[in-house]
Amino acid sequence: MADQKASTSIEAVESGLAAQGYIASRQIATAVYLSQQIEKPILVEGPAGVGKTELAKAIAAWRGMKMIRLQCYEGLDEAKALYEWKYAKQLLYTQILKDKLGEVLGGAQTLHAALDQLHDFGDVFFSKEFVEPRPLLQALEQPGGCVLLIDEIDKSDAEFESLLLEILSDFQVTIPELGTVSAITPPTVILTSNSERDLGDALKRRCLHLHIGFPEQRLEERIVESRVPGISQTLRRQMVGFIHEIRSLDLKKLPSVSESIDWARVLVLLQATELDTEIVKDTLNVLLKYEADIEAAAPQVTTFIAKAARSNVFG
């Protein structure tokens, strides 16, 4: 019985994302479903342009939540990711309050009493008022929950990972002067990585590990269909088949889903109804981003078109 409910929920995820124009494979849908059910972040790995960031956007749109994005880069630290003290505001307030100091201390007869009174005010400057929340803290403070996208975590330093651990496992951060800030509603956390560097085990252990590779032909056709509605079915099949052939080549950068979509749009703009050598050669630069790749692929174009057409007979 429980399984029944569960399987419909995975489907619910699938259709919910599809309504946002994100065609998810079953694995992706399962990952999203599980991350909600057992409250775990998802670490998404895979080549560039297969829709890792899009996934976070689609989830946010589907569930009507705010998306907070933290773009990682080398040298990112807690002051930029978590919180920072508003130094300027603190200084300004000190200057303004200088005059008030006399009033505060006015009642004190001895130096000791004055010090005691000062201590009471000491903590004012390190209070919530003077904290500038950065994306991570903002995400915890959203009352309705949010989707927190930590993009390209592999670009950040290893220390930054350790900073994330507390948030990822308990959805809370500890600010030394203030104490622990816990999430009101645990955010849905998506981390993406291009595997530029190996992530630490501690981080991986806290996440569901989802690998998004290049989609299967059918799935990619559906993705193109949902993103580029005007494209004819024959052309769609041919171009996806063609792209799958291109991916079998040894290229510097293989075309990924975002390139397929771009190409489909270009083909629609050019009012193509089916692939031919001429039009492919003219638009190859949409698919391939390196001159060397284009040169490598160009001689194969005719054979690939033929192959793509042939496979469609049975597909």
Binding site: D3, S7, I10, I38, D77, A158, R205, H209
Partner: protein
């Protein structure tokens, strides 16, 4: 199912996927949510929670397919399969009852449940019985291929082989034709059980077998590694190097600026009444690790120097500021080669330049003093890898003394045992007096410990 999942975790560890208790709890929770009826979803859920990389996903996927290709031990009829002694002949299980009518209408009264099941030729029932019997025989405990026989017979016993034998004896007299059929079925059963055990071995024993082999390799003397083991040994050393790297490597770039140094800021701005025009920042100080490695690549240590070089190569990856030198009769710097090339290429190049000669420690140390003495600072750790056999040439221990005086530590790693030091042309005792540490370093394990100690002092 819980039991089954635990067995799967064990199998997963076998294929090299690290399943910690925390991960197994996650997997359990995930499985509780998605249920077990849809195998594809179950597979996805386990892959998502357990695997931590694409490689692990592939391995785990294969493992899943292999694991769940076995029928699950069924809960509803373990009695029928496992205790063959009870007089179950009367209340026959429904499957065998219906099938025995189909099976040529032979009378099957008075036979044990196993015999009935075999004669009924109900393949599903037999498979389920094998599965539950292998559960009873705790097949998941199998570790070594030599245990195959014992587990096979345990499973057969659990299925009621004893009773079947009695039945066979009885039938041979009463109904030879039926006995013949039963015997053929028993042979087929034995084969099926053997297959199940082999599969179990493939699933559960991989981890142990690998651990055992690695353990043996780890402790095997490097110099006496057989040719067929060299590749495995290299893989092991590479694994050690990777572990060292994971444990000790630090990001290359680090921010030098730290937090605001309040004390210095206030003092610096005292002239402006404490209004901080100039800020002062704390700086992070870090010792620059300095390691100088001298590696003997002469003929007498040829077997070992391969591994030494491999490890030095990984040292270059782990810490900054390593300079490496290789020598047999003369000494050259090999830092650039090790930095720029893959281990295999680097080793081949180094060996072609200075390798396999007869060792002359004296002249090599002389080369070092002449050209590279300036590389040594009071922070440097010098590692010498070699057997200290100098072919009865002048050992020039005085140079080693000067090296020792200029550096922080001098570590000598010797592939020979302590017993051999000082005998023949070994100059180890003479060199040893100037070394901070002298260690025997003949096995992969000793090598790992030595290097780990050296690197750890810099963290």
């Amino acid at each position: 199912m819980r039991e089954n999942l635990h067995r799967f975790f064990r199998a997963a560890r076998g294929v090299g996927v690290h399943v910690s208790p925390a991960e197994s709890i996650d997997a359990m929770r995930a499985v509780a949510k998605v249920g077990i009826s849809d195998r594809a979803v179950l597979r996805d859920a386990l892959l998502l929670t357990l695997a931590k990389s694409q490689d692990e996903k592939l391995a785990l996927g294969d493992c899943f397919d292999l694991f769940f290709s076995q029928p699950e031990p069924r809960q509803d009829q373990p009695e029928a399969a496992s205790d063959g002694d009870a007089g179950k002949g009367e209340d026959q299980p429904p499957s065998s009852g219906s099938a025995s009518e189909a099976g040529e209408g032979q009378p099957a009264e008075g036979l044990g449940p196993l015999a009935q099941m075999l004669l009924s030729q109900d393949r599903n029932a037999v498979a389920a019985a094998i599965a539950s019997a292998s559960g009873a025989a705790s097949l998941s405990d199998i570790r070594y291929s030599t245990q195959r026989g014992i587990f096979s017979s345990r499973i057969l016993d659990a299925m009621g082989l004893q009773r079947l034998r009695d039945d066979l004896d009885q039938l041979t007299a009463a109904n030879p034709a039926l006995a013949e059929r039963l015997r053929a079925a028993l042979d087929a059963l034995r084969e099926a059980v053997r297959e199940t055990v082999s599969q179990g071995l493939a699933l559960y024993a991989r981890e142990e077998a690998e651990n055992l082999r690695n353990e043996i390799l780890r402790n095997a003397p490097l110099a006496r590694i057989e040719r067929r083991q060299v590749a495995e040994m290299r893989a092991l050393i590479r694994q050690i190097a990777r572990r060292l790297r994971e444990r000790y490597s630090k990001p290359r770039k680090r921010q030098r600026r730290g937090h605001l140094d309040v004390r210095r800021t206030l003092r610096r701005n005292a002239a402006w009444g404490g209004v901080p025009f100039l800020t002062a920042w704390k700086r992070k100080h870090r010792d620059r690790p300095k390691i100088v490695a001298l590696c003997d690549v002469s003929g007498s240590v040829a077997q070992v120097s391969d591994f030494f070089l491999l490890l030095i190569h990984s040292l270059h990856e782990v810490v900054d500021g390593v300079r490496s030198f290789a020598f047999s009769s003369h000494l050259i710097e090999v830092s650039d080669i090790l930095e720029a090339k893959s281990p295999e290429e680097a080793m081949a190049e180094i060996m072609s330049k200075v390798g396999f000669g007869s060792s002359d420690y004296g002249s090599s140390l002389g080369d070092f003093e002449k050209d590279f003495m300036g590389a040594l600072t009071p922070q440097t750790t010098v590692i010498v890898l070699g057997d200290a056999r100098s072919n009865n040439l002048d050992p020039r221990a005085d140079i080693l003394r000067r090296i020792s005086e200029r550096s922080k530590r001098l570590v000598w790693l010797n592939p020979e045992g302590r017993l051999a030091w000082g005998f023949g042309d070994s100059e180890m005792p003479r060199y040893g007096t100037f070394c901070t540490v002298v260690r025997q370093c003949a096995t992969a394990q000793q090598l790992e410990r030595a290097v780990s100690d050296i690197v750890a002092t810099y963290q």
